[in-house]
């Protein structure tokens, strides 16, 4: 399966590099939203739970843009049929798409998180950065797996742009909640607090749970 995932991932990254359809839109959306928060809250700086909430809600909505586009090339250009005709493990498509979304989210955050720190965040980011990166990676994994599952489900429908947020957002609430709770002490005034281990564990368990669910049901989404 590894070589199939590598072939699919390589194709995904090449297509994104050529079309630049997903990542730039996600980055611009994130920055624009932080600007809106900056003026909407009428504050130069936010801290603690408010900062954490603003950071994660924005990243979550940006992720929805990427989820919406995840299977569009497959659907519109016959990629599903091409893949289904090959003698390969169908789970490879789930893994490759989830890895693609995970990488897209990481790239977006490389730009969006510094932009957030510049536009809104009160305390300096540097002190909390290693812990924040850990939370970002865990949340990205959850969003990527669940987003791939929802995208695979929605692409077969006519109203996929509506279906994706309607299904994905409620299912991603636990990821948002756990990620926001994890990040809150890291974004406090007066130095970063300790990372809450219980919320970090919840985030990891949720990732694992949805990875197992996606593994179990993804083949059925590809079936006629």
């Amino acid at each position: 399966m590894r070589s199939t995932v590598a072939a699919l991932l390589s194709k995904e990254l090449t297509l994104e590099w050529r079309t630049r359809e997903s990542v730039p839109a996600m980055v611009l959306f994130s920055i624009a939203t932080y600007v809106v928060f900056h003026f909407g809250l009428d504050r130069d700086r936010v801290t603690g739970d408010l900062a954490s909430g603003v950071l994660w809600v924005t990243l979550l909505f940006a992720a929805i843009l990427g989820v919406n586009r995840l299977f569009v090339a497959e659907y519109e250009q016959g990629g599903f049929d091409g893949f289904l005709l090959a003698p390969v493990d169908r789970t490879a498509l789930l893994v490759a798409k989830a890895l693609t979304l995970f990488l897209f989210l990481c790239i977006v955050e490389v730009v969006a998180v510094p932009a957030f720190a510049l536009l809104l965040l009160g305390p300096p980011l540097t002190q909390a950065l290693p812990e924040l990166v850990l939370v970002l990676l865990l949340a990205n994994a959850g969003i990527a797996v669940l987003g791939t599952l929802v995208a695979g489900l929605a692409i077969q429908t006519r109203a996929r742009d509506l279906i994706v947020p309607l299904i994905a957002l409620p299912l991603l609430v636990p990821v948002l909640l756990a990620a926001a709770r994890c990040a809150t002490p890291l974004l406090q005034d007066g130095g970063a607090g300790a990372l809450p281990a219980d919320w970090l564990a919840i985030l990891a368990i949720y990732d694992l749970l949805f990875a197992l669910i996606a593994y179990a049901v993804f083949d059925f989404l590809l079936e006629d």
Binding site: S3, S10, L15, R18, D81, L84, L85, A86
Partner: protein, 237 residues
């Protein structure tokens, strides 16, 4: 002694065996009660007006659609349960090229070659065979329809399938291009073929069995040599 005409024995398992096969889209039956057998190495040509069920039949044989009625056996394997054993042995050429527009022809074929575990030298072979070596680096979006069709044919035969499922394979091809791809997908390719066509004379040429569909039902099923092109024309009235 393989290949000897003296000792050659026909494969006892037909390449295709359908008994009462059917397929619905919701309440509408796209294909009903289709029964036929096709020996390995033979060609079945399928005629019928738009919406007759030709594409549905091809997609069912390619494992892309599940049969909803009857029994369907492809290359000795029952569908849909043994579909995994059929995938990779079928070359499917449908109305869509199954190529990514932003990738070049070569990149598309290399991608499919990796999925089918085919060596990269085979990509160059098929590109040469369809006459696309010179333009294989161009994005598919920048190619003419005929060129895209040639690449689609290259994709369909890339993994040297046992069964070719060809939906109007010569659409968009000029006569020279059609002649160029004939060794790959024509009757001389030596593969079992199911070909849809709207050209009675051209379709019957090189075919062993002719199937006429109308409204998803079998309107004609006979050895191709016994079918008059006028009978095919009747299907379209």
């Amino acid at each position: 002694m393989r290949g000897s005409s003296v000792f050659a024995v026909p494969d006892p398992v037909p390449a295709l065996a359908l008994r009462g096969a059917g397929r619905r889209y919701g309440e509408r039956a796209a294909l009903r009660d289709l029964t036929l057998e096709l020996e390995a190495g033979r060609t079945l040509v399928v005629f019928g007006p738009n919406g007759a069920g030709k594409t549905t039949l091809l997609r069912m044989l390619a494992t892309l659609l599940r049969p909803h009625a009857g029994e369907v056996s492809v290359l000795g394997h029952q569908l849909p349960d043994e579909g995994y054993a059929v995938r990779g042995r079928v070359g499917f050429l449908g109305h869509e090229a199954l190529l990514y527009r932003e990738l070049s022809g070569r990149e598309n074929l290399r991608f499919h070659a990796r999925l089918h575990r085919v060596g990269v030298q085979r990509v160059d072979e098929v590109l040469d065979a369809v006459g696309m070596t010179a333009r294989c680096g161009d994005p598919v979006a920048e190619l003419s329809r005929g060129m895209v069709q040639r690449l689609a044919i290259a994709r369909a035969v890339l993994h040297e399938p046992d069964l070719l499922l060809l939906d109007e394979p010569l659409a968009n091809l000029d006569p020279a291009a059609a002649a160029q791809v004939a060794p790959l997908i024509g009757a001389g390719s030596g593969r079992t073929r199911v070909v849809t066509s709207h050209d009675p004379a051209g379709g019957l040429r090189g075919a062993d069995l002719a199937l006429g569909l109308k409204g998803g039902r079998v309107a004609l099923l006979a050895p191709a040599a016994e079918v008059d092109p006028g009978q095919i024309a009747e299907l379209y009235r």
